[in-house]
Amino acid sequence: MMLSEMSIFDESKLREISGGDRSFIVLVLDEFTRSGHECLERLREAAEHGDSEGAHQLLHTLKGSARTVGAEEMGELAGRWETRVQQEGLGSIATCLQELEQAWHRLMIHLDEQREAA
C-alpha cells in the first residue's frame, strides 16, 4: 500500500482493545505522544552521533508503538526507514528525520483535531 493511501490514524484498534474505554484511549495516546516525541529526539541525537544501531532500534520502537495505537502512516514510515537503516546505515538519515518529523506533525494535528471534536 502506498503511504499516501494510508490513513494517518485509525482509532478502531484502540477502541477494540479498550472496549471503547475513552479514558484508556486518552491515556494511551498521551503516552504515545510523549514517548514518540522522545523517540524522535533520540533519533536525531543518534544521527548526530553516527549511531546507526541506536537509530535502528529507535525506528523499530517508533514503528511498534505507532502500529499499536493505529498511527498507520507513521508506523509504515518508521518500518520502512528501520529496514533501510539496517541495510544502508545512516546515509539517508537526514531524509529519514525530515519525513518522520513531517509525518509526526501531521499525526499530532490529526490527534488534536480529534480531541477537540471529542
Binding site: 484498534k13 484502540l14 479498550s18 491515556l27 514517548s35 541506536g54 532500534q57 523499530h60 508503538s65
Partner: protein, 471 residues
C-alpha cells in the same frame, strides 16, 4: 497466571498490560530485558511475553537466561515480533521460545496462545510432579539396592549368584574368604570351575544345570582345594532367581563351610583311636598287673621252701577263724609240730638235704590234711595246722594220724619222727591268739620232753599239772 511483559516501548506495554489484565491475569512490566531477568529471578512467572528487539538484553537473550534456570517451575515464553523470517524463528525456537505473536498484538490471538500456555504449563506441572515421584521411587530403589547389596556382601554364609549361562555375577566377602578368591578374580568365570576340583567337574556341571533348570538343591557336600592347596569341605545349596514374569534369570548358591567341623571330627576320631590303643594297652597291662599281683600275693603268703602258707599268713588267718568259731559255736583246734632232731640231721647230711627233708615233710602234712585245714610252716622245722570245726578228740586223731604217717614214711637217709602239741577251744571263750599258740606250744614242748614222736593235748597238760599240784 502470573505474566511478565518485557517491552521497552511504553505504549506497546501499556496496551498489552490492559489486554492481559482484562483477561484476569496478574501482570508485571519490565522496560528492558535486563530488568525483566532481575524480576524473573526473584519471583518466577508462569508466562513471559517479551519483545524481540530491545537494547541490551534482547528477547532471545532473556529467553536463554530463563531457560538456563534449572530449578523451579517451567516458564512459558512468548516472543513478540514482526520478524517472520524462517531463520530468525528457528533461532528463537533454539533459544527456547515456546510461541510467537506478531506486533501489534491481536487480542483474540493472544488469548488463544495463553490458553495453550496454560495447557502446556499444566502438563509441565504434571510432568514435574511425576518426575519428582519417579525420582523419589528411584531413590528408594537405589537405597533398597544398596541395602540389599550391603546385606548380600555382609552375609556370614558364603553366597554366590550366577546367571543362566553359569557365569558368576555376585560373590560376597564370606565366599572370598572360603575360596580364597577375590570377586574380581571370579567375576564372569564359569561357576563350575570354582565350585569343584578339576576331577569333580561332572558333579559341578550337574549342580549348575539342575539349578538353572529350576531345582532347589539342598546340602550337597564337596571337598574343594583352594589355590594354596588346602582343602575346604563345602555344603552347597541353591535356589533359582526369577524375574517378575517367573522366568529363571539366575541362581543363588550358598556354600556353608564345614571345614572346621570336619577337621574337628577327624581330630576327634584320631584322638579316639589313640585313646582306644591306650585303653587296650592299659587293659593288657592290668591283666599282667593282676597276674603279677596274684603272684606277689602268693609269694607274700607262701613259704618259699615248702610251698606252704608262711607264719604271718597263718597268724593272720587265726583271728577270723577264732571269730567264726565263736559266732557259729564250732570247735576249733590248733596243731603245732616240730621235726625231731632236725639239727642233727642238718649237721649230718647238710642243709640241702635238710631243705629236701623240710619239703618232703611239708608235702606229707599237706597231703594228709583236710582241704579246709590250713597248713603252714612257722619257721625252721616247726609247722602248724589249723583244724576248723574240729573238736579235741578229732584233733588228737588228726595229729596222731600225721605222726604215724611221718614215722612210717620211708625217708631216704634215715627215719624221721615229729612231735605234736594240740590245743582246742572248748568253751568258746576266745582267748588271745598269743594264748592259744602258747598253750599249743607248751603241749608240743611236753611231747618233746616225754621222748618225742608223740601227740600231747594242752588240756591233758593242764590235768597232768593239776594232778602234780594235787599230789
Amino acid at each position: 497466571m502470573r505474566i511478565l511483559i518485557a517491552e521497552d516501548d511504553p505504549v506497546s506495554a501499556l496496551v498489552l498490560r490492559r489486554v492481559l489484565e482484562d483477561l484476569l491475569h496478574d501482570v508485571d512490566h519490565a522496560a528492558s530485558g535486563h530488568e525483566a531477568w532481575k524480576l524473573a529471578q526473584t519471583s518466577p512467572y508462569d508466562v513471559i511475553v517479551s519483545d524481540w528487539m530491545m537494547p541490551g538484553v534482547d528477547g532471545l537473550e532473556l529467553c536463554r537466561l530463563t531457560r538456563s534456570r534449572l530449578e523451579g517451575a517451567y516458564t512459558y515464553f512468548i516472543l513478540l515480533s514482526s520478524k517472520s523470517e524462517r531463520e530468525a524463528r528457528i533461532e528463537a525456537v533454539a533459544a527456547g521460545v515456546d510461541d510467537f505473536l506478531a506486533k501489534p498484538v491481536d487480542t483474540a490471538e493472544l488469548e488463544a496462545r495463553l490458553t495453550t500456555a496454560r495447557r502446556i504449563l499444566n502438563m509441565q506441572d504434571e510432568l514435574r510432579t511425576r518426575s519428582a515421584k519417579l525420582s523419589q521411587t528411584t531413590g528408594y530403589l537405589e537405597t533398597a539396592n544398596r541395602r540389599f547389596s550391603d546385606l548380600f556382601m555382609g552375609l556370614p554364609v558364603p553366597s554366590i549368584t550366577f546367571d543362566t549361562e553359569g557365569r558368576i555375577a555376585e560373590w560376597n566377602r564370606a565366599a572370598q574368604s572360603l575360596f580364597d578368591l577375590d570377586a574380581d578374580e571370579v567375576w564372569q568365570r564359569q561357576a563350575v570351575e570354582v565350585f569343584a576340583d578339576p576331577d569333580d567337574l561332572e558333579w559341578a556341571e550337574s549342580l549348575v544345570q539342575r539349578s538353572i533348570g529350576g531345582q532347589c538343591i539342598e546340602n550337597e557336600e564337596r571337598t574343594v582345594h583352594r589355590p594354596d592347596g588346602s582343602p575346604r569341605y563345602v555344603l552347597y545349596s541353591t535356589f533359582p532367581l526369577k524375574n517378575n514374569a517367573g522366568r529363571i534369570i539366575g541362581v543363588v548358591c550358598t556354600c556353608s563351610d564345614l571345614t572346621a567341623q570336619r577337621n574337628l571330627e577327624k581330630q576327634l576320631a584320631e584322638q579316639l583311636r589313640v585313646a582306644n590303643n591306650l585303653n587296650e594297652a592299659l587293659e593288657a597291662g592290668k591283666e599282667e598287673l593282676a597276674l603279677a599281683n596274684a603272684r606277689l600275693a602268693e609269694l607274700a603268703t607262701t613259704d618259699g621252701l615248702t610251698g606252704l602258707k608262711n607264719h604271718r599268713t597263718f597268724i593272720e588267718a587265726l583271728e577270723p577263724s577264732l571269730a567264726y568259731a565263736k559266732r557259729h559255736r564250732e570247735p576249733l583246734s590248733l596243731v603245732l609240730c616240730d621235726i625231731d632232731h632236725f639239727k642233727h640231721f642238718n649237721d649230718a647230711f647238710g642243709h640241702p638235704a635238710g631243705d629236701a627233708l623240710l619239703r618232703e615233710f611239708a608235702a606229707l602234712l599237706s597231703c594228709h590234711s583236710r582241704t579246709e585245714d590250713l597248713v603252714a610252716r612257722c619257721g625252721g622245722e616247726e609247722f602248724a595246722i589249723l583244724l576248723r570245726n574240729c573238736g579235741r578228740e578229732n584233733a588228737i586223731g588228726v595229729a596222731e594220724k600225721l605222726r604215724a604217717v611221718i614215722a612210717d614214711h620211708e625217708w631216704d637217709l634215715r627215719k624221721i619222727t615229729a612231735s605234736f602239741g594240740v590245743q582246742t577251744l572248748v568253751d568258746f571263750e576266745v582267748p588271745s591268739i598269743e594264748a592259744i599258740v602258747e598253750s599249743a606250744d607248751r603241749a608240743l614242748y611236753a611231747s618233746k620232753q616225754a621222748g618225742r614222736n608223740r601227740v600231747t593235748h594242752a588240756a591233758d597238760l593242764h590235768s597232768v599239772e593239776a594232778g602234780k599240784k594235787a599230789a
